[in-house]
């Protein structure tokens, strides 16, 4: 999946001469946290976040004293150079940038820093929810498998034999080293025969544990 598939294509922007007050209003009106700062030809020159604006705003204890601080142009507080991503980058590459740089929005730019969109952490999170398949009616089957080749193929065959559609699949490491958890969402209300089949091949299927008892 590429950045251009999930980015916001027409983000709210601001120009460098506009005031911090205007930036504050844009954030409030649109319920957003980031404003790319652009020139008239859409060249990206900076970014302001709600945090930058908060730093420039008067303390709530002195609201009446120095309101003129909000009249400065945005260029005084914007951050640059900007960490950006490209429309054809992979989402997982872009997602790494959030953690590495402690940021939560990435302007998407092409040649000559032309702004094409904005990719926020929220967009990435929504995509993750879709990838887990949690929005489709399904039963959830978790299988503990040794971390070696062929395990997924073995278990997938069982779903095929039962004519059951898999709507999503996640693989993640188990807390026991050398083991993985395969998490399937499958389109059936009655997974009993499938679970029995997987168990008969010697695999451990995780389910609601009878409380208080060790498995």
């Amino acid at each position: 999946m590429l950045v251009e598939d999930i980015m916001i294509k027409q983000p709210v922007t601001i120009t460098e001469e506009q005031t911090i007050q205007e930036a504050l209003e844009l954030l409030h009106q649109n319920k957003i946290r980031h404003l790319p700062v652009i020139k008239e030809d859409k060249t990206l020159i900076g970014i302001v976040s709600d945090r930058d604006i908060r730093d420039a705003s008067p303390s709530i204890f002195y609201l009446d004293d120095n309101n003129e601080s909000l009249l400065h142009p945005v260029s005084r507080i914007m951050k640059y150079p900007v960490i950006t991503t490209h429309p054809l980058d992979f989402i997982e590459e872009a997602a790494v940038l959030y953690g590495e740089n402690d940021i939560s929005a990435l302007p998407v730019v092409t040649e000559d820093d032309q702004l094409r969109g904005l990719l926020t952490e929220t967009d990435v999170l929504h995509t993750l929810v879709k990838l887990t398949g949690a929005h489709e009616p399904s039963s959830h089957i978790e299988v503990k498998v040794p971390n070696k080749p062929g395990q997924l193929a073995d278990i997938s065959t069982i779903f095929k034999e039962h004519h059951v559609n898999v709507t999503s699949l996640l693989v993640y490491p188990h807390s026991d080293q050398g083991w993985n958890i395969l998490t399937f969402r499958v389109r059936t209300m009655d997974p009993r025969s499938i679970i029995k089949h997987i168990q008969s091949k010697g695999y451990e299927v995780q389910g609601p544990r009878f409380p208080g008892l060790q498995q």
């Binding site: 949690a134 929005h135 489709e136 009616p137 399904s138 039963s139 959830h140 089957i141 978790e142 039962h162 004519h163 059951v164 559609n165 969402r185 389109r187 059936t188 209300m189 009655d190 997974p191 009993r192 389910g207 609601p208 009878f210 409380p211 208080g212 008892l213």
Partner: protein, 385 residues
């Protein structure tokens, strides 16, 4: 003459049958009917046969193309790949001869129940053949072809202009009905079910609250696996009472799945028959207090069809008709003798369950459910002050 309650049933409803090995088996209807008849609790004058729903009525919720696909599948004239795209011909909802007619008659049963109540011929009505709450606009899901409950609610909204409170106590989330009315302010849906952590359909989290004008009117209480009577009933009763007080519906529509019982093979809840005594009693009481008695009830899931479903569903009728004194008597011998040779298990001899050892960590589960209940009702309590 105005009746207290109508029991919608005919043996034709048993035609909704996938195959012999399928867990969804409407022989349950016959077993329940028999049990009530033999217990002397169901005079023939209270029984009304279901009508068959028309295509227009089914089309209140379902897409035309989907209805045509179901018809074709029932005549064995539908390509397998196309059938799959409609969720039929799968392990869950296999095709069977005349499946459209069978499904339309379950929908018709619920519409019969609705008309009886809305036209004032009866205070309450029960169609145990309905409650197929997983059916989607253009797709069969979870054993359900047509969603009789969504259709009946939409039918009531249009024909009678009423506000409906839908209450779903099946162990699975009532997803089909919830999504039908997710942004509709004249329908409030409330589903209490086992958490979707492992169980189908996986939705029904406490954060699904509705959208647009219907925001706040989808209520979900996902309870933990191994929840028992006290905790289940605490959540159900508290939420139901506060919701009916807040929403002030004109009519109550309850879905009475009986698959939260500890014997049920498909789910992981641990309630006993005690819960199935209380569920309809509370619905009955609230229908009289807030809706002039207007209460329509349907069936739903329930996969221990010998030990659990006939009693649980019989209890809905007994509560509806104030005949709970019958519970002091044993299960009629005639019923046991008629059916005991069919299943592999013994049939119950009493309306109640024998005591079982408490589930370990009961207190923790109860506490967790209580927090879920608080989250589910948070916005309503805020508004009520």
């Amino acid at each position: 003459m105005r009746q207290d309650a109508i029991f919608v049933y005919s043996e034709k409803q048993l035609n909704y049958k996938f195959n012999d090995d399928h867990p969804f088996n409407h022989l349950r209807l016959h077993l329940t009917y028999d049990l009530l008849r033999m217990a002397g609790a169901l005079p023939l004058s209270s029984v009304s046969p279901p009508r068959v729903a028309t295509d227009e009525e089914i089309g209140l919720i379902h897409d035309r193309n989907y209805i045509n696909a179901v018809k074709a599948a029932g005549e064995n004239k539908l390509d397998e790949a196309i059938a799959h795209s409609y969720g039929i011909g799968t392990e869950d909802t296999p095709t069977f001869p005349h499946m459209h007619e069978a499904a339309a008659s379950l929908v018709g049963g619920t519409l019969t129940a609705v008309d009886m109540v809305m036209e004032g011929k009866s205070e309450h009505a029960l169609n145990l053949g309905g409650g197929l709450h997983h059916g989607f606009r253009g797709k069969a899901s979870g054993f359900c072809v047509y969603n009789d409950s969504s259709i009946a609610i939409e039918y009531m909204r249009r024909k009678y202009g009423v506000r409906v409170l839908y209450v779903d106590t099946d162990a699975h989330h009532g997803d089909g009905v919830q999504w039908s009315f997710y942004d509709e302010p004249s329908v409030c849906t409330f589903s209490i079910h086992e958490t979707g952590r492992y169980l189908f359909p996986g939705t029904g989290s406490v954060h699904e609250k509705g959208a647009g004008k219907g925001y706040g009117l989808s209520i979900n209480i996902p309870v933990d696996a191994f929840t028992e009577d006290d905790s289940f009933l605490e959540c159900y009763e508290t939420a139901f009472k506060e919701l009916v007080e807040f929403y002030k519906p004109d009519v109550i529509f309850t879905q009475n799945g009986a698959d939260a019982h500890y014997y049920d093979p498909l789910t992981h809840l641990a309630v006993s028959i005690q819960t199935y005594m209380k569920i309809p009693q509370i619905a009955h009481e609230l229908a009289h207090k807030y809706c002039n008695g207007k209460w329509i009830a349907v069936g739903g899931g329930g996969y221990d069809m010998w030990r659990v479903v006939p009693r649980a569903w019989g209890l809905v009728w007994l509560a509806m008709t104030n005949q709970t004194h019958i519970l002091k008597k044993p299960i009629p011998k005639a019923w046991i003798e008629k059916w005991e040779d069919v299943p592999d298990t013994d049939l119950p001899v009493d309306w109640t369950d024998p005591a079982v050892p408490p589930v370990p960590r009961r207190a923790e589960i109860q506490e967790k459910n209580l927090r879920t209940l608080e989250k589910a009702l948070y916005h309503i309590r805020l508004e009520q002050g």
